[in-house]
């Protein structure tokens, strides 16, 4: 007996030890150290302590050495002005959604500046989870005065949660980040299509490639959950008038939409209501069978864009800015005559919202040790002409040139795929200081004009969903989405109608209706 007794005792002792360790042990190091930046008696800021500011940025870390050269010069200036140095931490594209959220979840105290966004980087959920530091007006006025005065009060209102500012919006940068498909104009013309503006024509384009371009995969996509959800979302946008509501991520999916621009406060979901999902599933199955993408698409991991540049993929999927600034100019270079065009998902249904000012936003890490200095650095990055040019474009002469008509040019032999700087400052670009890219697609202005004829302001800028009642159900729904949407989006199902029915059934079982009601209530209440 005593033998067993001792064993039990030992286990209990250990358990108690563990509990006490877990309970009082450290926790994430919530900083309470003394501030490194304070205001002196005479009102100026004390920057006597040299500080390293870490900036979390999305993208692949560049390996061409340009970043290091440029950062050296940027840091020289930053040191001179605010006695600080900038260090960049990249969240690389592989698995970025997981890595980004995990990084924020870990409460890392070494990160100061964080690139975020309310529409694609889950800013609201992260604010609610306490990943970002609330920014008081005083803080902003003192440490980022230029930014503070350049953002209007209405815009500041759109970054508030429970009356506290959490984000600095990139609100002075005109951009169009509406998604769509890129396709080769030359091949489309051969196929008898001029401008592709809907999914049916896209299918014809793909079929043409299958028939007449051996060795090329119409759309050599990697069937990840991220791409699957984006593609499904695109179909929804093209075939309904529903407007996606940001800030309510269901795993990697966005299920909840406003009914239309005339009835923005009526909640709906094109995934669950009507036949849209079924039609999508059926179409995708036929596309998969017709071999518009690889058979093993769900296990495949090639880089579609690179393959398109090499002429091995007939299409790629991303947004307008990428088209204007990257893929179109590059395709003109790498596949001359290809005349890359874009089929924006918004065209067939004329369903488009303008970019929200928080599509790019800066947040400060909740556990940052140098929030004030970080703000000062950001203020300079965004508003100081010299530093802005350096940080965004590089060293004049080596990374960029200024053309005769004051546009952005590139030195002879500069190749974007090899020589790009990639500081990816997507939360503080400033049209006052930036240069228009001379190599950007010349037809940009026309396309933008077209968008402006039907784009509306995003109606839900100030709607922040309080998920405290629905979080568990949302997790359960995320599971269901992860199970069904990727394979439906790439047609990897044997019976599309049955799959969609099963999806809907499991969603209901996960508590969809309750969550729907919760959101609808809050949405109605947010009507102003």
């Amino acid at each position: 007996m005593s033998k067993i007794g001792r064993k039990i005792l030992a286990t209990l002792l250990v358990g108690a030890m563990a509990l006490s360790l877990a309970g009082c042990g450290g926790g994430s190091s919530k900083t309470s150290g003394k501030a490194t930046t304070t205001v002196k008696a005479d009102g100026t800021v004390d920057t006597s302590q040299h500080v390293k500011v870490k900036f979390v940025v999305l993208g692949n870390k560049p390996t061409n050495g340009r970043l290091e050269d440029v950062l050296k010069q940027v840091n020289e200036k930053l040191t001179k002005k605010v006695n600080a140095e900038l260090e960049i931490q990249y969240v690389e594209w592989a698995d970025w959604q997981t890595q980004y959220n995990l990084l924020l979840a870990s409460g890392d105290s070494t990160i100061d500046l964080i690139t975020t966004a309310t529409d694609w980087l889950d800013a609201w959920p992260n604010i609610k989870k306490g990943s970002f530091l609330p920014l008081s007006e005083d803080m902003l006025k003192t440490y980022a005065p230029q930014t503070w005065s350049s953002v209007s009060p209405e815009h500041w209102n759109q970054t508030k949660y429970k009356d506290q500012i959490y984000l600095i919006p990139e609100d002075n940068y005109a951009q169009y980040t509406n998604h769509g498909m890129f396709y080769r104009g030359d091949w489309a013309k051969e196929a008898g299509l001029d401008q592709i503006n809907n999914f049916t024509d896209l299918g014809k384009y793909f079929q043409y490639i299958v028939d007449k371009k051996p060795g090329v995969i119409p759309w050599d996509i990697s069937g990840t959950a991220a791409f699957g959800n984006q593609f499904a979302g695109g179909y929804m946008q093209s075939n309904t008038k529903n407007i996606a509501i940001d800030g309510i991520p269901i795993g990697l999916s966005s299920l909840f939409y406003g009914k239309s621009k005339d009835e923005p406060y009526t909640l709906t979901s094109p995934y669950m209501e009507g036949n849209t999902l079924e039609e999508f599933a059926t179409m995708m199955k036929s596309w998969s069978d017709a071999k518009y993408w690889r058979e093993d698409v769900l296990n495949y991991n090639g880089e579609t864009r690179d393959l398109m540049y090499a002429g091995q993929s007939g299409a790629d999927q991303h947004h307008s800015e990428t088209y204007f600034g990257t893929t179109r100019p590059l395709m003109d270079q790498k596949q001359p005559g290809s005349e890359l065009k874009m089929f924006p998902f918004s065209e067939p249904s004329k369903n488009l919202t303008k970019v929200v000012i928080t599509h790019g936003a800066l947040a400060i890490g909740a556990n940052s040790k140098n929030p004030e200095r970080a703000l000062m650095v950001y203020d300079l990055l965004r508003n100081d002409k010299e530093i802005y040019m350096l940080y965004n474009y590089g060293i004049e002469g080596k990374d960029y040139t200024i053309t005769k008509d004051n546009k952005l040019g590139r030195p002879e032999g500069w190749d974007q795929t090899k020589d790009a700087l990639e500081t990816n400052f997507w939360c503080g670009r400033n049209d006052n200081l930036g240069l228009i890219d001379s190599k950007a697609y010349a037809g940009r202005a026309d396309m933008v004009k077209n968008y402006n004829t039907y784009a509306i302001e995003y109606p839900y800028g100030q709607f922040i969903f309080d998920n405290s009642k629905s979080a568990t159900k949302i997790s359960a729904m995320a599971d269901v989405c992860a199970k069904y949407i990727p394979k439906i989006a790439f047609g990897k199902v044997s019976d599309p109608k049955a799959e969609v029915a099963a999806f809907k059934k499991e969603m209901m079982a996960a508590g969809y209706q309750d969550v729907f009601n919760d959101i609808q209530e809050q949405l109605k209440a947010s009507k102003k």
């Binding site: 877990a22 042990g25 926790g27 692949n60 990249y90 990084l103 880089e303 690179d306």
Partner: protein, 302 residues
């Protein structure tokens, strides 16, 4: 008598059949074990375009060392991964082995009153575990080991099974050795280091190799805890990235400056896999007998 003669003839035929079957089956099975590797190696020496159109084959198609040449033009990350893995394996094995041996010795000492409690304490962890999520939180938020090589090194230092295995090995050393040490006035630790350890060489080799193999093949903890801000990942995790992430593949030979669409992706993956696995394949025939020893001792007394 007749029956006996008949049965002798039958026996020979039957035996012959069984023997022939044995040879055939074993040969086929051995081939099955070998062919996947042959495919991989031959693909690494083939031309990319031929592989993607014709598929994998036993012999290289369009023999070329292009994939390897590409890697060696810009081997920085591969070499970095090797170095990280070698350092981690060496340090981890030495430290872990010492602790395992020390603990195994202490736990088999019949005059150690707490040996059962501690044995159970160690063994209990195989019965019940916290699970991935709590462990992940613990490692990243409380121990702050995210992006640290320690997150990979520390958890692999030892395991309950290895400690029990070592215990069994040490049991075979007669207690007289310890006794004589005690009579000479030596403390337990000294006895362990100067008397027991030298006698444990085969056991140390066996268990050391298990630990080392664990480190060399490790990719799971790396995947969990080392994000992209860690430049040099342990070898198998590096391979995982190469195989599964197109950008990792691009970066691995970034220095060679090949335009993205022209990377020989498949053959490059194979060549990297060969290089990442090579050492194990060459070494293991020599260390095979230690693993056998470990397996038999372990199986006999769980």
């Amino acid at each position: 008598m007749e029956i006996k003669i008949n049965s002798t003839i039958k026996k020979d035929k039957m035996t012959k059949i069984v023997h022939a079957f044995s040879y055939t089956f074993i040969t086929l099975f051995a081939l099955a074990c070998l062919i996947p590797f042959v495919l991989m190696i031959s693909a690494s020496f083939s031309t990319e375009t031929v592989i993607t159109s014709n598929g994998f084959a036993i012999l290289p198609q369009g023999f070329t060392t292009a994939a390897y040449a590409l890697i060696f033009k810009s081997p920085r990350i591969l070499i970095g991964s090797y170095i990280v893995t070698i350092i981690m394996t060496t340090c981890g094995t030495l430290i872990g082995l010492f602790i395992v041996a020390m603990t195994g010795y202490a736990l088999q000492r019949k005059d150690f009153p707490f040996r059962n409690v501690i044995s159970f304490f160690v063994y209990f962890t195989t019965l019940f575990s916290a699970g991935l999520a709590p462990t992940y939180l613990w490692m990243t938020q409380y121990l702050n080991l995210k992006d640290s090589y320690l997150a990979v090194l520390l958890p692999l230092l030892m395991s309950p099974w290895l400690i029990i295995l070592m215990k069994n090995f040490v049991k075979s050393i007669p207690y007289e050795i310890t006794e004589s040490g005690k009579m000479d006035g030596a403390g337990d630790f000294k006895i362990f280091v100067s008397l027991i350890l030298p006698m444990l060489k085969p056991a140390l080799a066996t268990i050391g190799l298990f630990i080392a193999l664990g480190y060399w093949n490790e990719w799971y903890n790396s995947m969990l805890y080392l994000s992209s801000s860690v430049e040099y990942k342990p070898l198998q995790n590096y391979l995982y990235g190469i195989v599964n992430q197109a950008t990792a593949l691009k970066n691995s030979v970034a220095g060679a400056n090949v335009p993205a669409g022209q990377l020989p992706t498949t053959t490059l993956k194979m060549a990297t896999a060969v290089l990442a696995t090579g050492p194990i394949i060459f070494l293991y025939p020599f260390v095979q007998k230690y693993f056998i020893a470990g397996m038999t001792v372990g199986a006999v007394k769980g």
